[in-house]
Amino acid sequence: MIEEFCPGWFAGFDVVFQAVTVYVTLAVAIMGLRIHRFFGTERYKLHAEGFILLAASYTVLTIAKFAHLAGMLGVKGRPPGIGAAAILWFGNILLGAFFVSGLTLLTIAYLRVKDRVQRTLLLVFAIMASLIATFDPRPWAFSLLHTLTGTLLIFIIVRLLKNPKKNRNSYLVIIAFISLVIGEALTSAMHLINSQALYVLSNSMTLAGYVLILVSLSTCGRHEKKQSRTHP
């Protein structure tokens, strides 16, 4: 989460990476909300809400990392003061809760869970897991949380692979989600072995995943624009 795994040379790059991620997740969410308004299907709303929560988690992460970089949360190398520690602690709680609940909403949308009680139960379990991981100081707790998010992503990938109407962009989205799973697996390993190299790798894989999502999003409807030239 918001711990100091980042190697010195990579500081700043990770903030930019997270900012790009916020942009992509928000772009997907806005598109989903527009489609929900157009078709009125709840699935799109859930998908959009999932991406909004992911955007919220990445926003918390971006702000926290930026604050850390700017020295707002204490001097690097020294333990943070009580105020800064409280901000970091609260940031960790928000980050975990937003991220896990966002991915759970996405999984609910993809698995087409229609029953509201089942949806609530899944969300409660996911948020509880994130809270337990945040409050537990042992490194394996965070590792387990990232294993959980990775598992949710694998469920989404399986649904994407079963999609009967696959096009070039859908394969890009599948590759993007595989990148995100690898990113989560690397983050999970990073917490266990406390590795800075894994921090860089996991951030890069996550960024690659979101960039692929952005590419597939921006090429949606390009075919239509070509057709539009024939309109009088």
Binding site: R34, F38, R43, N169, S170, C220, S228, H231
Partner: protein, 77 residues
């Protein structure tokens, strides 16, 4: 129906539309009324023949619809 009109270059004869949209006469009449009410299609006269023209609004609607459909397929929703 909108896609059928666009495929014909933006203007289509009633009989052609009936054939392309694969609809009954009554259904075509009902849908055309709805589309004209929404401002997506307008009735024009060319050489004393009734034709249906895709309006700019109808064209934009169709484009948006196709984009949303493609997004839905891309994200497997």
């Amino acid at each position: 129906m909108l896609a059928a009109i666009r495929q014909k270059g933006g203007t289509i004869k009633r009989t052609h539309l009936l054939y392309k949209a694969n609809l009954s006469h009554d259904a075509l009449k009902r849908y055309l009324k709805e589309l004209m009410g929404a401002g997506f299609v307008e009735e024009i006269e060319v050489k004393k023949q009734r034709r249906y023209k895709l309006t700019e609004e109808g064209f934009k609607f169709l484009q948006e619809f196709q984009r949303f459909k493609e997004f839905s397929e891309t994200f497997g929703l």
